[in-house]
Each structure stands twice: as structure tokens, then as C-alpha cells.
């Protein structure tokens, strides 16, 4: 098996490329995705290889881009629209929530919406507000949407291919902070990583730490530091936020009886609350401590001087985990 050392954003490109080769119904569209290869270069070279009918430069109109994609999907194509930053998705929110998510139920299964909306999300790049926010919970809250966030190049390609092949709409959020942070072996040939399955990144018996996306690496670092203090963390990377891998969450929690959740998004209404409810519903009698939520603040994403406070840091994650363990 041949493989290449790819960054996460190169793995996005590789995943798109693979599916565009496999299936001529796969069409990429968005602002500057074609001739210019995308703001983050996630679609670099695709225009030259597949042409302007399959890699479509659009006017600056998110509602139009996603709405058109929904129509393409209902028609029988497999559109993969790109939104340049997650914070620019709101003009398309109506189309995603009111239509993409509901086409199947509304038509009693006669219409489907096999579309993947890709958007880079998250902070740490020294830019304010729309350029850094993490609003995955909006989409998880809408039944009928799948929500995926990879944290490694290998998973990125495999999950993206699964998302493109999935018969239902997927919001695919890419952690732009780690787009180029590290490389990993990614097989040249096609493979899938199934949607809806979490990955245990580190096994441990003292406390379960649930996280995803760019926070996975910071959490792993905190876990290694804590190991030196004798605290043995199990780090679970959820990878798909909807549908959530409830079994993996519960299984880990039954083992440890303690949990922390790390996410960039604001605390209130964030997914840490949902994960807390799951462990209480399914494993209350195993619980030894309150679940710790290590998250962003309930504020808009601030400019850089406050960013290091806003994002969960290694030190803050360590503190939070210690709280759970020492309870």
C-alpha cells in the first residue's frame, strides 16, 4: 500500500480528489474554490484536473451556494459546497436547517439530500469573531443533519469519503488551526472511516476526557502531563458529533466513573451539556464526580489579546481534569 505524509488540509484535498475520480456526480462549488484553489487551498489543482463544470467558482452568496447544492442533491448529484469560514455560514443557515435537514422526512423518503457542506471552524489563528468561531452545536441541534469534525489527516480523508458517500446531508467542519500543524501517513488509495464512531486516542482508567477537532491535540498533551503525576486519562475523540457515539461515551465512563469535556465553543448550550446528560442517563450509578466542562466563554470570539484565555489551554485542561479526579 502506498501512502504519503499529508497535512490535514492536504487530506481534505485528497479525499475530495478520490471521490471526484470515483463518482462523476461529485461536484465542488464555492467562493474561489476553482481557479484559485480555495482560501485555505483545500481544493488546489482540482479545477485543472476536473474542469469548471465540476469545480465551480460561485458568486459571493452563501444562501445561493447551499440552496443550489440542495437542489443539485435532490436532482441526483453529490454536491460538496465550501463555506470559506464557519462564521460565514449563517446566510445559508435557513437552507441547511429548513431544507437540507428535512428534505427526506418532508418527502417521506422520496427526496434525499446527499450533500456535504465543508467549512473550516475554530480559533487560535489570531482573528476575531466570524473567523474563529465554533458553532457545531447549532447543527447538532437540528435533527436530520450529520455533523463531523476530524482531528487527524488520516481520519479527515476517510471521514470525508464516508460523508460524500452518505445518503444524507453532512456538515463537515475542519479544524483550521491544525490544517498544517502536523503530517501523518495517509494511504493513496480510497478507504473510509465510518461516521458515528468515536476513537479512543489514549486509554486510561482514572477519568474519561471527551473532545474533538483541534482540542484533541491539546487534550492529549494535558493527558500526557497528567500521566507524569499519576493521573491516567482516557481521551475519546468523538469525530462525529451527530449522530453521537453514545456507546463509546458510556463504555468509557463506566470504566472511569469520571469525565471532563473539552470544547472551544461557548459553554452554555454547548455539547458538553449533552455529553453530561448522556452519562447521567446511561451510567448514573457509576458516577463519582460532577462532569467538568472545559470550554470557551459565553462571549463572541475575541481578538487575539484575549484569545489565549478564551481557548482551553493545556494548563486549563489539566486543572479541570484534576478537579474531577480529586473530587
Amino acid at each position: 500500500m502506498s501512502a504519503q505524509n499529508l497535512t490535514l488540509v492536504q487530506a481534505v484535498r485528497d479525499g475530495l480528489h478520490t471521490e471526484m475520480q470515483n463518482d462523476e456526480d461529485v461536484i465542488v462549488l464555492g467562493e474561489d474554490v476553482g481557479k484559485n484553489g480555495g482560501v485555505f487551498r483545500a481544493t488546489e489543482g482540482l479545477y485543472d484536473e476536473f474542469g469548471g463544470d465540476r469545480v465551480v467558482d460561485t458568486p459571493l452568496a452563501e444562501a445561493g451556494i447551499v440552496g443550489t447544492s440542495i437542489g443539485m442533491a435532490a436532482y441526483g448529484l453529490r454536491p460538496v459546497p465550501e463555506i470559506q469560514f464557519m462564521g460565514f455560514i449563517y446566510p445559508a443557515f435557513d437552507q441547511i436547517i429548513s431544507h437540507a435537514a428535512r428534505l427526506r422526512t418532508r418527502s417521506r423518503g422520496r427526496f434525499t439530500c446527499p450533500m456535504v457542506v465543508r467549512a473550516p471552524y475554530g480559533g487560535g489563528i489570531r482573528a476575531p469573531e466570524h473567523h474563529s468561531e465554533s458553532k457545531e452545536a447549532f447543527f447538532v441541534h437540528e435533527p436530520g443533519l450529520k455533523v463531523v469534525i476530524p482531528s487527524t489527516p488520516y481520519d479527515t480523508k476517510g471521514l470525508l469519503i464516508s460523508a460524500v458517500r452518505d445518503p444524507d446531508p453532512v456538515v463537515f467542519l475542519e479544524p483550521k488551526l491544525i490544517y498544517r500543524a502536523f503530517r501523518e501517513e495517509v494511504p493513496d488509495e480510497e478507504y473510509t472511516v465510518p461516521l458515528g464512531e468515536a476513537a479512543v486516542r489514549r486509554e486510561g482508567g482514572d477519568v474519561s476526557v471527551f473532545t474533538w477537532g483541534a482540542m484533541t491535540r491539546v487534550t492529549m498533551e494535558a493527558a500526557e502531563n497528567l500521566a507524569a503525576e499519576g493521573v491516567d486519562c482516557e481521551v475519546v475523540d468523538l469525530r462525529t458529533l451527530s449522530p453521537l457515539d453514545r456507546d463509546a461515551v458510556v463504555e468509557s465512563f463506566r470504566k472511569t466513573g469520571r469525565a471532563a469535556v473539552v470544547h472551544e465553543a461557548p459553554k452554555t448550550g454547548g455539547l458538553a451539556g449533552e455529553l453530561t446528560a448522556i452519562v447521567q442517563e446511561e451510567a448514573l450509578l457509576y458516577q463519582e464526580a460532577p462532569v467538568e466542562r472545559i470550554t470557551g466563554f459565553d462571549t463572541p470570539y475575541p481578538l487575539y489579546a484575549l484569545e489565549d484565555y478564551y481557548l482551553p489551554s493545556v494548563a486549563r485542561i489539566e486543572d479541570g481534569i484534576r478537579n474531577v479526579v480529586e473530587y
Binding site: 467558482d57 458568486p59 459571493l60 462564521g87 476575531p128 472545559i294 466563554f297 487575539y304 486549563r316
Partner: protein
């Protein structure tokens, strides 16, 4: 008009000075960005100075404007203070938004500046709302929205045009057609030769003017303002211009050649306006040099001010969430004191 009545020689010199200030401010921002002093993204206005200054010189001081992600020029043209602007760019507490917004979010309601805007197309509805307020209260003001050629594709821009036209509001819409939305040329984004033809759909006047000529922009906007004040509703002005720098600082610009930029530079809005004023005997080369070095000093002082300004405090993040202080401020401050401010964040 206010302090910049272009019908007087004094006003013309002030217009020239503001155009030079914008250029100097953004040249400096470019350097600071390259040196890593400015975080995030900066979108520079260099080359487009005649549009902001031409339009704002047709406004009164208490008129409103809305701006875009490329907003430094609008701010300076509307009379904002370069010191507090630069402090905002550097993310400092003395910036217009206390360093929380940065380049793309400068706002100053007192100066009638309702905000730069990180969301393309979001400004026109805000200007429409201000115009509705003006109309209902019967005030002698207008609201003007600047937006790009790319923004003309956004749905909410059309909603705003329709509302303002239907209600015959005192609004002015100014398209800055700088030939590109990021890397995509305007003709690949629209089916119109002139974007001002959009006005036909709303049965309002639309006009395309030379956006490299400050007096042409001024005349069109002055006429639009008069129309708005006479109760005859909004006007759509398209100013045809060009941005010399990349879309954002650091943009590799695969979509154009340096020659394209050079062609437009031959009609540089500052240079051509200066020459016209010189030929009319309103300014000499020496006076222009002196003006330029004054402007340099202004911007240098702005940089010093910004560098010396304090960083925001961590608890400032929770400030201004609501009129009532957020309860988190107290918890957060307590936690910071507990660990000596090392670790940040609430829990």
C-alpha cells in the same frame, strides 16, 4: 460636506489630505502586518481612496455610513481618529472597540460610523434601518452604505435595496467596484455590464462613475443625498475603482499580474487630484510635500499611541455582553486572582 466641502478650495485640500492619510495609514498597516504587529486579517483600501473621500465629502457630519471588511478608508474619510483606529488594529484597549474587534469591526456611533463589517453584504440593511429611523423622526440626515462588487451577489443587499426603495428612504448605496471579490473577477460574478443597472429592478436611479476621480464620486453622491433629502428615495452609485494590494495582506494574487495594477496606477486617485489642484493654482509641489509629511507624522503618532496603549484585561472579554454586567465577570476575575492570571478561562 461638513469640514470637507469640495466646492471650496479649502475643502478640496482637506479631501486631498484625507486621501493621503488613508494611503499612509494603510501603507503603514501593511508594514505592521508584515512585522507581525497586527493580528488576524487586514484588507487595505489603497487605490480606492477617491471613493470613500468622494462620498463622505458629499455628506454632512451627522449623516451615517456603514462600511465593510475593507473599512479603514471609510473610517478616515468619515473623520475617525487614526490613533484609536490604529490601537484597534493592534488589539489594544484604547481602540474603538477596546481591541476586541480589530481591523474588520471598527465602529463609532458618535461619528456616524455604524461599523466596518466582517460579513460581506451585512452593511446595507443596517444603513436602511438608520434611514428608516431618520425618515420617521423627520431628521435632516441620510444613511449611506458602502459595499463591494462581490457583495452585490448577497441576498441581504437586495432585501435592503428593495426595502429602501419601497419605503422611499433617505439612503444612498455606494458599490465599490474594485474589479474583484477576493480572486474572482467581477464579470464572473455578475450578469451585468454595470452593477448600477441593479437599480432598474427597484426602479431607483442608478449611476456608474469613475471611482478614481474624487470629484466624480462627490458629485454623484451629492446628487443622491439631495434626492434622499427631498424625499425621493435611495440612489445606487457604482464607483469603478481598483485595489492595488492583494485581497488581504499576504494574498499571493494568482488571479492577476503586476501590469494590471500598473495600468490602474497611472490613474492614481491621489496623484491625479493633486495635479488638477496644482494646475488650478490651489497647491504647489512644495505644499503637497509638506502635506504628505504632516500626514506621515499623524500616522507615526497613531502607531506610537497604539503601541503604548494597554492590552485588554482578560475580564474585558465579558464586558459589554449586555447592559447588565454578566455574572461571569465576577467569577472570572476571582478565578484569575486565585491563580495569578496564569491560566485564563472560566470553568
Amino acid at each position: 460636506m461638513g469640514t470637507m466641502n469640495i466646492e471650496t478650495a479649502e475643502g478640496r485640500l482637506e479631501a486631498l489630505r484625507r486621501m493621503c492619510t488613508i494611503r499612509e495609514f494603510d501603507d503603514t498597516a501593511s508594514e505592521l502586518f508584515a512585522d507581525g504587529e497586527i493580528p488576524g486579517f487586514v484588507h487595505l483600501y489603497i487605490g480606492e481612496e477617491a471613493v470613500a473621500v468622494g462620498a463622505c465629502s458629499a455628506l454632512e457630519d451627522d449623516d451615517y455610513i456603514t462600511s465593510t471588511h475593507r473599512g479603514h478608508g471609510h473610517c478616515i474619510a468619515k473623520g475617525l481618529d487614526p490613533e484609536r483606529m490604529m490601537a484597534e488594529l493592534l488589539g489594544k484597549r484604547d481602540g474603538y472597540c477596546k481591541g476586541k474587534g480589530g481591523s474588520m469591526h471598527i465602529a463609532d456611533v458618535d461619528a456616524g460610523m455604524l461599523g466596518a463589517n466582517g460579513i460581506v453584504g451585512a452593511g446595507p440593511p443596517l444603513a436602511t434601518g438608520a434611514a428608516l429611523g431618520i425618515d420617521q423622526r423627520g431628521e435632516d440626515r441620510v444613511a449611506l452604505a458602502f459595499f463591494g462588487d462581490g457583495a452585490v451577489a448577497q441576498g441581504q443587499v437586495h432585501e435592503a435595496l428593495n426595502l429602501a426603495a419601497t419605503w422611499s428612504l433617505p439612503a444612498v448605496f455606494v458599490i465599490e467596484n474594485n474589479q474583484f471579490g477576493e480572486g474572482t473577477p467581477v464579470e464572473e460574478q455578475h450578469h451585468l455590464d454595470n452593477l448600477s443597472e441593479t437599480a432598474e429592478a427597484y426602479d431607483i436611479p442608478g449611476i456608474t462613475v469613475d471611482g478614481m476621480d474624487v470629484t466624480a464620486v462627490n458629485e454623484a453622491v451629492a446628487e443622491a443625498r439631495t434626492r434622499a433629502r427631498n424625499g425621493d428615495g435611495p440612489t445606487l452609485v457604482e464607483a469603478v475603482t481598483y485595489r492595488y494590494r492583494g485581497h488581504f495582506e499576504g494574498d499571493p494574487q494568482p488571479y492577476r499580474d503586476e501590469e494590471d495594477v500598473e495600468e490602474w496606477r497611472e490613474r492614481d486617485p491621489i496623484e491625479t487630484f493633486f495635479q488638477r489642484l496644482r494646475d488650478r493654482g490651489e497647491i504647489t509641489e512644495e505644499e503637497f510635500e509638506a502635506m504628505r509629511s504632516e500626514v506621515e507624522t499623524t500616522v507615526e503618532e497613531a502607531v506610537e499611541y497604539a503601541r503604548d496603549a494597554p492590552e485588554p484585561e482578560p475580564e474585558d472579554a465579558y464586558e459589554d455582553m449586555f447592559a447588565d454586567p454578566a455574572p461571569e465577570i465576577a467569577q472570572f476575575a476571582e478565578r484569575l486572582r486565585a491563580d495569578g492570571g496564569e491560566r485564563g478561562g472560566d470553568r
